[in-house]
Structures are given as C-alpha cells and as structure tokens.
C-alpha cells in the first residue's frame, strides 16, 4: 500500500521566484529571509523522500472558465504543461512540464466517486501557479510525477468549507488505499487573508492580520472543529475578497487530521499578504 510520508500546506506566492532570483537594486529587502524560510520548508519535503506528489490547488481562470466550471477536478494525464502567458507576463514564471501519475489519478477518481465526491476530470490540463509555485519552492527539480487536484475557491457559487475538509479526509484515505508501495506527499496551497482588485490590496501587511494569526493557529494545531465553527462562505468575505482560498488550507487540515499538530510551522509577514508554511509527518518525522 502507498504511504503518505508528508502532508504540506502552503501559501502560493507567485512573486517568490522573481524575488529570490533578483539581484542588486532589484532584490527586495525581505528576499534573503524569504529564501531562508523556503529552504528550511523545502527540506521538510526532501527528508520525507517522496516518490509521487498529490498537488491541491485552484485554477485562476486559466483553463477552467465560467461556461463549464467544475467544483473539484482531478487531472489524469501522462504530462501536465504548466504556467500561462499571463503568469509569465505578470510574475515571470517559466513554462514547465511535469509528469503525471495516471494510475493514482485513476484510483482517486474511481474511489472518490464511490466515496460520494462527484469529481470532474481532465485529460489535458495545463496547470497554473497554484501548483507550480509549490513545485518551485519545495521541489525545484520538478522531477516527481504528480496528480493535480483543483478546487473552486474562485468562482461562486462555491462549495461549503466543510466539503473542503471532507475532501481532504477522503484524499488521505484514497492515497492510503492505493495498492502501490510508493511514498506519497500530499501538498496543497491556498491563502490567508487576501484582497485582489479591491480597496484593501497591496497594503503593508495582509488585509486582516488578526485573521491570519488565528488561521495559523488553527492550522498548526489541526483545530478543524474550531475553524469550521468560525469560518463560513459569508465570513470569508470579511478578511479580504480573495480569502476563500483559505478553504484549500482547510482541505489540507482534513488531510492532516483533527487535532494533529503540524511538525513544521513557519510564516513570513510580507506586504499584501502573509506567507505560511506547514508540514505534517503522519508516520513520525524522518531522521
């Protein structure tokens, strides 16, 4: 049976690549600290020695559009091309190509459907920065096969927060029931408080530092019940108009499990948004 060797939840900041590779006057003052935190975070995945990565993210109106919008979608293809023209334009993200793990995709689809998740699928999916950012930060070699899973945190009507948690729990069970002796890391990215295209964007901090503080606490302690008690589709409008991306963190809390404390917790207060990084080792920390 497959083993879940690491569960990782992270923000996906599209400017990391540019900030970390810039030099001289172009290098932002926070770049060195950011790079150092990312390298430490990366080590938590490297140490787990994964063979396969399940990657949870959200399409930002790249391939998925309002004429045909799935709520939860699993990519099943031998390869996934990655990053789009407007991401290259705005963030300087390079075109990439990742190998797929079709057998695990098929397993998640079949058994996810049987577990009452009516998952959509795609056999030709060009993934975007919600999945390539954690590749760049956590596995820049981009050498492991992936199963991308997209959630709709972007185009309302959205699924309820509890469905994200339930899907996380189900993904964990599905990976653990995959009859291959392979080491799987489940990685998902979302946001803390975030405002895009509204009056609170690009401030000195994220739009709601108090929400960010609480959110980091919920995630770090695996406090799913408390989080579900406080977070609704309505309430997520308050910390910032793009904060529904926090539901992907809730999904990852579902993967990690109720009351399970993260083995690695870190954050970085940047302008516009707070970065946050979490790693759980379900079978104990690797040596």
């Amino acid at each position: 049976m497959a083993e879940v060797v690491a569960v990782i939840a992270s923000t996906h900041h599209p400017f990391y690549l540019r900030a970390s590779t810039s030099t001289g006057a172009d290098r932002p003052p926070f770049a060195d600290e950011w790079v150092s935190k990312i390298e430490t975070f990366r080590e938590t995945l490297t140490k787990a020695r994964p063979d396969v990565l399940v990657m949870v993210g959200s399409d930002h109106f790249h391939q998925l559009w309002l004429d045909n919008m799935p709520q939860f979608l699993v990519g099943k293809a031998p390869y996934f091309d990655a990053n789009w023209y407007n991401e290259e334009r705005e963030f300087g993200l390079p075109k990439m190509r990742l190998q797929g793990q079709e057998d695990l995709s098929a397993h998640i689809l079949r058994h996810g459907l049987d577990a009452d998740f009516d998952l959509a699928f795609s056999n030709e999916l060009r993934i975007d920065h919600s999945i390539t950012c954690p590749i760049i930060t956590l596995r820049p070699e981009a050498d492991l096969p992936i199963v991308p899973i997209y959630t709709n945190i972007f185009a309302p009507p959205l699924p309820q927060p509890k469905r994200f948690v339930q899907l996380g729990r189900t993904i964990r069970q599905l990976v653990e029931s995959w009859p291959e002796n392979l080491r799987v890391a489940i990685i998902g990215t979302g946001h803390l408080s975030l405002e895009l295209g509204g009056p609170r964007q690009f401030g000195e901090h994220g739009p709601d530092p108090e929400f960010d503080r609480l959110a980091v606490e919920w995630i770090a302690n695996g406090d799913i019940e408390k989080c579900l008690g406080e977070v609704t589709l309505e309430s997520l409008h308050l910390p910032g108009n793009a904060t529904h991306g926090f539901m992907d963190f809730m999904l990852m809390m579902g993967v990690a499990g109720e009351g399970v404390r993260a083995d690695h917790v870190d954050s970085l207060d940047l302008f516009h948004t707070m970065e946050a990084y979490f790693t759980w080792y379900p079978n104990g920390a690797p040596a």
Partner: protein, 119 residues
C-alpha cells in the same frame, strides 16, 4: 446586467497579448469590435457555434470603454480578472507597485459588503 459577459470580456482580452495592447490603445473601438465579433462566441468550439443572446448594457459598455475599474468592481465583475488585465495594460507606466496601490486607493470609499461577483 451581465456579470458573465463582463468577465468574458476581461478573460478573453487578458489572455491575448495583441488584444491587451488593442484595448489599452483604443478601448472604444476594441469594446465595440469585441461585442460584435466575440461576445457570442462559444469559447470551447473550434468552428462557429455562436450563442445568440449576449450583449452589454449601456452602463457596462461605457465602463469598459472608459477603462473604469472602479465601476466594473461595483458592477460585480470578477476583481481578479479586472486587476490582472489592468496591471498588464498600465503597470508599465508607473514605478514598482505604484499602479497597484493607486488602483486600490481610488476604491477607498467602497466598504463591505462588496458587490456580489456570483455569475
């Protein structure tokens, strides 16, 4: 009112480098051309399978023609689409982050709850 069609405009222009430039340089003609030629195109069809019913209201047409991102926000256009496209068009005329900050500052009078973006 069609939030969907506003979003479709922003989405189709943002992903086409030539259209981004056209909309920046000549918004009135670009919006008129787009409504005539693209508004009813089913994006997933490779031959002509046009829809028959999509058009802007006069207010929507005006907001797009005037590059008026504040009114687009108030109409419930998807703020991510508007922001991404407007950064592509206008960031180049400003210093680092200057445009993004100004974009938010002119909306400072807007308070919660923001307009519903559900389509």
């Amino acid at each position: 009112m069609s939030k969907y069609l506003l979003d479709k405009f922003l989405f189709t222009v943002d992903r086409d480098p030539a259209l981004v430039e056209r909309y920046r340089e000549d918004p009135v003609a670009t919006v008129d051309w787009w409504e005539r030629e693209v508004a009813n195109k089913l994006l997933n069809a490779t031959v002509t399978e046009d829809s028959t019913w999509l058009e802007f209201s006069e207010k929507e047409r005006t907001a797009l023609r005037e590059h008026d991102h504040v009114t687009l926000f108030q109409m419930g256009a998807h703020p991510f689409l508007t922001l991404t496209l407007f950064i592509a068009m206008f960031e180049r005329d400003h210093g680092p982050l200057e445009y993004q900050k100004a974009y938010g500052a002119v909306m400072a009078h807007l308070t919660l709850p923001y307009p519903d973006i559900t389509t």
